[in-house]
């Protein structure tokens, strides 16, 4: 009965939980179009992590520098302000023209998506550091480099983590869009491909997996945040 929702609702509109479960078991066992389910998920996550890693390294460096020096900010902020509100698909074609249809263009798209939130929060974090924190360090004899390392960077960490979490969700959402074009693997591609054949059960399995993975990724970041920024919200 449950398998077909008692035949009252078409399983194309909303497949029954049992149908989704069966479909999940089938996908887990036989894969989807040449790749296992985990290979699809792995392909998506691999692109995501590579893009995220590069975004962290570059956006934190440039963001902190921009927060610290008005000259650096004057160079980068207008560019970021321009890119940030653009929908990724708007410029995806250009990126494919530049970088080809391989993984690189997808990773670059995710990178751009993740970059802006991290950059913006780093700038905000640095510019919001209390002047008394810096003054105290200077009256205690710290030089510019030491102030940056011991005062500004840790003081900006709570903001940086806000950016990191935003960036993760933006990048993860973008990854589905990235897999729409010329991909043959990835959880997003699986969902888009299944939609061509009206395989609602596969679509639902994909969506649920994406949702759970998204929550897990955010939880990991949240966990890191409470560990590293242990003082946040305690004052």
């Amino acid at each position: 009965m449950l398998v077909t929702w008692d035949n009252r609702i078409s399983s194309i509109i909303i497949p029954s939980p049992a149908a989704i479960w069966t479909s999940f078991l089938d996908l887990a066992q036989n894969g989807y179009k040449g790749h296992t389910l985990w290979a699809h998920l792995g392909a998506s996550l691999r692109r995501l992590f590579i893009a995220y890693f590069f975004a962290i390294v570059t956006a934190i460096t440039l963001g902190l520098l921009s927060g610290y020096s008005e000259r650096v900010r004057a160079v980068f902020e207008p560019i970021i302000a321009f890119i940030r509100p653009l929908p990724p698909l708007g410029y995806y074609t250009i990126i494919i023209l530049w970088m080809g249809i391989g993984d690189n263009s997808k990773i670059f798209l995710l990178f751009l998506g993740a970059f802006a939130p991290i950059f913006v929060s780093c700038v905000a974090g640095v510019t919001r550091v209390k002047q008394d924190y810096i003054n105290r360090a200077r009256t205690l004899g710290a030089n510019r480099g030491q102030i940056f390392l011991h005062v500004i960077l840790p003081a900006a960490l709570p903001d940086i983590f806000v950016g990191l979490r935003n960036a993760m969700s933006v990048a993860y959402a973008t990854s589905v869009a990235a897999e729409m074009v010329a991909a043959v693997s990835g959880i997003g591609w699986m969902v888009l491909d299944a939609s061509k054949y009206l395989r609602s059960d596969v679509i639902f399995v994909g969506i649920i997996i994406m949702g759970i993975t998204g929550i897990l990724l955010d939880k990991i970041l949240l966990c890191l945040e409470t560990k590293i920024v242990f003082w946040k919200g305690k004052n």
């Binding site: 003054n135 200077r138 205690l140 011991h150 960490l157 242990f230």
Partner: protein, 268 residues
């Protein structure tokens, strides 16, 4: 040899801080009222100077100039005959809301100054113990900043300023945000520290009793433009220490002084 002792003698005989028609106008326009106006003042080694005045009289401005946070728009201020230019470690500052670094423990916050100045680790560790004991935080050394009460935070802040052995300690209403009981404990603490170390202290307060209970010299400032309208010695803090009691607080002399200061402030 003789030369050296001569210069030493010469230095100690001179004022620690000298201000010469010190002026600061935040708004540099022609007819702007300056925050402080042509202040001439010398501070000598070992003094405990308490500064009072109505709010907005430029007390904090004066302290910020001494610390180097602000540059005067006119006049000069010298420390040991050398003009103060910008912020450096010669003047320790204790803020009203202690900006301790929450990412470091109490111990590391106190060790911050020596750490930045690359003092050998062993000496720093010893000094930190000494100053932890001085402010009564020995048992709280490993605590996180957010685990401390307001009074304890201020103790840690005082220790972290003192460990650098600054020429003068600048305190901007350091106990203003504390409850009455804690404030009294902190007053006793800073008095003891002043007495035992012989440090020069420049202390801003809006509390007449606090000024009289702590200072060896009281300055009263006027409303904008800030000028010094009264400058007189006080002896109660020494009596406190010598008699080891707070009887001086209830003497006629104390009340007279108190009344006098209040009338100076209220008359404006």
């Amino acid at each position: 040899m003789t030369d050296k002792s001569m210069t030493n003698f010469f230095e100690t005989a001179n004022e620690l801080i000298s201000m010469d028609s010190l002026t600061l106008a935040y708004d540099k326009g022609g007819d702007a009222v300056p925050a402080i106006d042509k202040i001439n003042l010398n501070i000598y080694r070992g003094e405990f100077v308490c500064v009072m005045g109505p709010s907005g009289c430029g007390k904090s401005t004066l302290l910020n100039i001494l610390a180097g946070f602000l540059s005067p728009t006119g006049g000069t201020v010298k420390l040991n005959q050398k003009e103060i230019k910008g912020i450096d470690a010669h003047r320790g500052v204790v803020f009203q809301h202690p900006p301790l670094y929450e990412w470091y423990s109490v111990r590391k916050n106190i060790a911050f100054g020596p750490m930045m100045q690359k003092v050998p680790k062993k000496k720093t560790a010893e000094d930190v113990e000494t100053y932890l004991a001085k402010v009564g935080l020995t048992d709280f050394a490993e605590k996180k900043v957010y685990e401390l009460s307001g009074g304890m935070k201020q103790r840690a802040a005082i220790a972290s300023a003192l460990i650098n052995n600054p020429d003068i300690l600048l305190m901007d209403e350091p106990f203003g945000a504390l409850d009455a009981l804690t404030r009294e404990q902190m007053q006793a603490l800073i008095r003891k520290i002043w007495w035992n170390t012989g440090k020069t202290i420049f202390f801003i307060t809006h509390d007449v009793d606090e000024a009289l209970l702590l200072g060896t010299r009281i300055l009263v400032m006027s409303r904008r433009p800030g000028k010094i309208i009264a400058d007189f010695p006080a002896h109660f803090t020494k009596e406190f220490i010598e008699e080891n009691s707070d009887d001086a607080r209830y003497t006629e002399a104390f009340h007279q002084k108190r009344k006098y200061i209040l009338s100076l402030i209220n008359e404006q």
